[in-house]
C-alpha cells in the first residue's frame, strides 16, 4: 500500500508540484497542522507578515513583479477577513493569488465556533472562485484546480478553505501531471477574419491610437516585446493606462504618456479626436473614459481582451477580438508582414498630419509644474528619484493618492513588471507590503515604494517584516501631512472645506524607522534632496525616507468628473490656465 499523507502534508506536496517558492502567512489555531509541517518541506520559504492584509499585498507584489502566482496562508475568522481587502484588490487588478485559509473543524461549521466565519461566503464576490474542502480526498485536486483558475484566462485571486480536521485526515497523493491548459473558461477564439478586419481598419485610419493596459503585462514579457514591434511597424501613437505602464518604453517618442483623469493632455486629446482606437488589454474604466456619452465620439473602436465580459461592458466597440494579447499581436504582425510588407511606409504619409496635431498638444507640456528652490515640490522629488535610479532596473510600488499619480506621470518605465500599484480598488496601504513581496522575488534589485504619509501608516507594521528578512525596501514618503487627493478634491469641489483630511499628529518617521530597526532619512530642501536620495539608494537596509514636500500642491492635469477627454484642467503654469481653470471650476 502506498504511503498516506495528512491534509497538511498534501498542501505542501501540491505547492511543491506547483513550483511555489515563497508563501506569505500568519499562523493561528485553525492552520496549526499546516504550520506544523512547514519544517519538513525545504523547497518553501515562509515569510511571516504582521497582518494578513500585508500577506495579501506582499503576495500581489510578488506575483506582479515575477509573473508567478502569489500564495498566502491565513487562519480562520479574522485571518481570512483581514485578507479580504487584498483579495478584492487582486480581483480588481487581475493578479493571480492563491489564498489558503484554515477553517474550524467540519463538525463545528455553522455553530458560531471560536474564530469561525463563513469564509467562502465572504470571499465569493472577491475571488474568481473558492472552495471549502470537506473531504481530504478532494484536497489535492482542489488545490491544483485553484492554481489553474488563478493563473489562466484573466488572472485573479482564488481561495481554498481547509477545515482543521481535514488537515489531519490522511489519504494518498497522486503525482501531479502538469496538463496542457485547455479549460473551457479560457478564451482564444479570435479568427483570422477578425485580424484581417483590424488591418483593414488600420490601413484606412488617418488618426489612429493604441490604448494599452494591464492585459499586456499579464500576457507576459513576450507581449510587451510584440507590442513594441507592432507600434514600431505601424508608426501609430500609443498611450497606456495606469496598469499598463512599462509595457512600452516611457521615454519613446511614440509614447504619449498615461491617459485618463490625471493623464497627459496629448494622450487624452488624441483619445478624444482619434478615428481608430485600438484597445489592447484595457477595460474602459471610468477613470479612463470620463463621460461615457462623449467618449471618443468619432472613432471606430477595436477591443483586444482575454475576458469576453470586458467587451461592451462600458463602451460599445466595433470590433471585439477575444484572445490573449501576445497571441493576437503575433497574428497581427504575421498578417501585416505577409499582406502589407510596405505598411509602415505607405502609412507614414497618411498619419503625418495626426502627428503634427499631437505635437501641438504635446508642446503644452501638461505634466509641468512650478518648481521652487525653497520647498520640495512632490513632482520634483519624483523626477529626481527617477533620474537617480533609472539606470538601476528599479521596481516601483505605490500607495494610493496624489503621490501615485505623480509617480505615474513622472517616473518613466521601460520594462514590464516594474510598476506595482493598486489601480482598480485604490487600496491605501498597498505599496509597503507590495514592496516586501517584490523584494522577496528580486532580492538584489532596488525596490522603492513611492508613498504618501497617510497611506503608508495603514500598513506600516510590515516594516517589521522587511527588517526580519533583511529586505532592503525603500519607503519614499512624499510627506505633505494631508490626505493629498482628498484635500485636492475638497479644494476644487467642496469650497476648501478640508474636512478631516489633515493628520495633526504624525509620527516622526525618522525615529519610527529607528524603532523598527531600519534607517530613517529626512529631506527638507530641494538642495539636499539629491544627496539624501543617493544616501537612500546606497543603504543596503530598509529605509524610511521622509521627504517633506509642498503641502498645497495639486495634481494636474485633471479631467473633472462627468467631463469628456477634451475638457481638461491644466496646471497653474500653463498660458491658457486662467481661461480653462476659470471655466473649468464652474464645470467641476
Amino acid at each position: 500500500m502506498s504511503k498516506l499523507f495528512s491534509g497538511a502534508e498534501i498542501v505542501f506536496k501540491c505547492l511543491e508540484d506547483q513550483d511555489v517558492e515563497f508563501i506569505f502567512g500568519y499562523p493561528g489555531g485553525a492552520v496549526l497542522p499546516i504550520y506544523d509541517e512547514l519544517k519538513n518541506f525545504n523547497f518553501l520559504k515562509h515569510i511571516l507578515v504582521r497582518h494578513e492584509q500585508g500577506a495579501g499585498h506582499a503576495a500581489e507584489g510578488y506575483a506582479r513583479s515575477s509573473g508567478k502566482p502569489g500564495v498566502l496562508l491565513v487562519t480562520s475568522g479574522p485571518g481570512a477577513t483581514n485578507a479580504v481587502t487584498a483579495l478584492t484588490d487582486a480581483y480588481m487588478d487581475s493578479v493571480p493569488l492563491v489564498c489558503i485559509s484554515g477553517q474550524v473543524p467540519t463538525h463545528l461549521i455553522g455553530t458560531d465556533a471560536f474564530q469561525e466565519c463563513d469564509t467562502t461566503g465572504i470571499t465569493r464576490p472577491c475571488t474568481k472562485h473558492n472552495w471549502l474542502v470537506k473531504d481530504v480526498k478532494d484536497l489535492e485536486k482542489t488545490i491544483h484546480k485553484a492554481f489553474e483558475v488563478a493563473t489562466t484566462g484573466r488572472p485573479g485571486p482564488v481561495l481554498v478553505d481547509i477545515p482543521k480536521d481535514v488537515q489531519f485526515q490522511k489519504t494518498n497523493y497522486k503525482k501531479f501531471k502538469s496538463q496542457k491548459k485547455t479549460n473551457g473558461k479560457i478564451h482564444n477564439h479570435f479568427s483570422q477574419k477578425d485580424i484581417d478586419e483590424l488591418i483593414k481598419l488600420m490601413s484606412k485610419a488617418s488618426k489612429p491610437i493604441f490604448y494599452t493596459g494591464g492585459g499586456v503585462i499579464n500576457s507576459g514579457p513576450k507581449a510587451s516585446e510584440l507590442l513594441r514591434e507592432l507600434v514600431n511597424t505601424t508608426g501609430f501613437p500609443i498611450t497606456s493606462t495606469l496598469q499598463g505602464l512599462g509595457s512600452f518604453p516611457g521615454e519613446d517618442v511614440q509614447f504619449l504618456g498615461m491617459l485618463g483623469m490625471h493623464g497627459s493632455y496629448e494622450a487624452n486629446n488624441a483619445m478624444h479626436d482619434c478615428d481608430l482606437m485600438i484597445n489592447i488589454g484595457a477595460r474602459f474604466d471610468d477613470r479612463i473614459t470620463g463621460k461615457i456619452d462623449e467618449f471618443s465620439p468619432k472613432s471606430k473602436k477595436v477591443h483586444i481582451d482575454i475576458d469576453p465580459s470586458s467587451i461592451n461592458k462600458n463602451v460599445k466597440v466595433d470590433l471585439p477580438i477575444v484572445g490573449d494579447v501576445a497571441k493576437v499581436i503575433t497574428t497581427i504582425l504575421k498578417t501585416i508582414k505577409k499582406e502589407k510588407p510596405n505598411f509602415s511606409k505607405s502609412n507614414k504619409q497618411k498619419i503625418s498630419k495626426w502627428w503634427e496635431t499631437i505635437q501641438k498638444w504635446r508642446s503644452i507640456n501638461s505634466f509641468d509644474f512650478v518648481n521652487s528652490d525653497k520647498t520640495i515640490k512632490p513632482q520634483y522629488a519624483i523626477q529626481r528619484l527617477y533620474e537617480l535610479t533609472k539606470n538601476k532596473d528599479t521596481y516601483i510600488t505605490t500607495e494610493v493618492g496624489q503621490h501615485q499619480m505623480w509617480a505615474a506621470q513622472h517616473y518613466k518605465f521601460d520594462k514590464p513588471n516594474r510598476w506595482m500599484t493598486s489601480g482598480g480598488l485604490g487600496t491605501m496601504g498597498y505599496g509597503l507590503p507590495a514592496a516586501v513581496g517584490v523584494q522577496v522575488a528580486h532580492p538584489n534589485k532596488l525596490v522603492v515604494d513611492i508613498a504618501g504619509e497617510a497611506s503608508v501608516l495603514m500598513t506600516m507594521q510590515e516594516m517589521s517584516t522587511a527588517v526580519q528578512y533583511s529586505l532592503p525596501i525603500k519607503i519614499f514618503i512624499l510627506n505633505n501631512e494631508y490626505m493629498g487627493m482628498v484635500r485636492q478634491w475638497q479644494e476644487l469641489l467642496h469650497d476648501k472645506n478640508y474636512s478631516e483630511s489633515y493628520t495633526a499628529a504624525l509620527p516622526d518617521f525618522v525615529k519610527l524607522a529607528e524603532a523598527y530597526g531600519c534607517v530613517g532619512i529626512r529631506a527638507q530642501t530641494p538642495e539636499e534632496l539629491d544627496d539624501k536620495i543617493i544616501e537612500m539608494i546606497n543603504t543596503d537596509r530598509p529605509v524610511i525616507f521622509d521627504c517633506r514636500v509642498d503641502k498645497m500642491e495639486n495634481c494636474f492635469p485633471m479631467i473633472p468628473s462627468g467631463k469628456p477627454h477634451n475638457q481638461m484642467l491644466l496646471g497653474p503654469k500653463d498660458q491658457k490656465e486662467n481661461k480653462i481653470t476659470g471655466k473649468g471650476k464652474t464645470l467641476v
Binding site: 471610468d286 456619452d293 461592451n312 461592458k313 468628473s561 467641476v588
Partner: protein, 182 residues
C-alpha cells in the same frame, strides 16, 4: 448642466429594457446558487423569478432558470459574467416574446368556500390545465400551469371565489421542436 460634486461620472443613456429568460446549466455543488444569485445582486441585475433543480443526477447537473429585465447591454453582460463562473457549463438566453420557446409557471391556489364558489373557481381555471390536488368539504387546492401574466390574472380573479393562499414557482423554459440548446 448641474454642478457635480462627485469624483464619478454622471450616468449615461440607458438602452431599452427587455424581459429575458436566462437558462444556466451548472454543476450541482455547494454554494452554486449563491454564486449565481450573488452575481446578480452584486452587479445590480434584477431577478423577477428563479427556478432551480437538479436535472441530471448522474452528471450532477442543475438547471437554473432566471427571468430578468435589462437593456440589451446588461443582458449581454449577464450572460458573459455567468459564463465566467467556474461551475457554469452553458448559458442560454431567450426573449420573453420568442415564439420558438415555451415558458411555463406553476401555481397552487387554496380556495376556501361553499361548493358553488369552489366549482366557479375551478371553472375559471379551465384554460390552464387545472388539477385538484386536495379537496375537503370547505376547500380545494388547485394546481394550474400557465404564463406569468395569466397566473397574475387568475390570482386576482379568484379572490371573489375564496382564494386564501397562493404558492407559485418561477418560470421554466424549453425550446420547441426537436432541437436542443447547445
Amino acid at each position: 448642466m448641474s454642478k457635480s460634486k462627485s469624483a464619478y461620472s454622471i450616468p449615461g443613456k440607458q438602452g431599452k429594457l427587455g424581459t429575458h429568460i436566462i437558462v444556466v446549466w451548472v454543476d450541482n455543488e455547494t454554494g452554486v446558487l449563491a454564486r449565481v444569485v450573488g452575481l446578480f445582486s452584486g452587479r445590480g441585475y434584477n431577478i423577477e423569478s428563479l427556478a432551480v433543480a437538479e436535472i441530471d443526477p448522474k452528471l450532477n447537473i442543475s438547471r437554473i432558470t432566471i427571468v430578468t429585465t435589462g437593456s440589451p447591454q446588461v443582458i449581454e453582460q449577464i450572460k458573459l459574467q455567468l459564463k465566467k463562473l467556474v461551475p457554469v457549463h452553458k448559458v442560454a438566453d431567450f426573449k420573453r416574446e420568442d415564439k420558438k420557446v415555451i415558458f411555463k409557471e406553476m401555481a397552487l391556489f387554496k380556495i376556501v368556500g361553499n361548493k358553488s364558489k369552489k366549482i366557479k373557481a375551478l371553472k375559471a381555471c379551465k384554460k390552464y390545465n387545472p388539477i385538484i390536488l386536495d379537496k375537503t368539504n370547505k376547500s380545494y387546492v388547485i394546481q394550474i400551469t400557465a404564463l406569468r401574466r395569466e397566473i397574475d390574472l387568475m390570482s386576482k380573479n379568484l379572490k371573489k371565489f375564496g382564494l386564501l393562499s397562493i404558492s407559485r414557482t418561477g418560470a421554466v423554459a424549453m425550446t420547441r421542436g426537436s432541437e436542443v440548446f447547445k
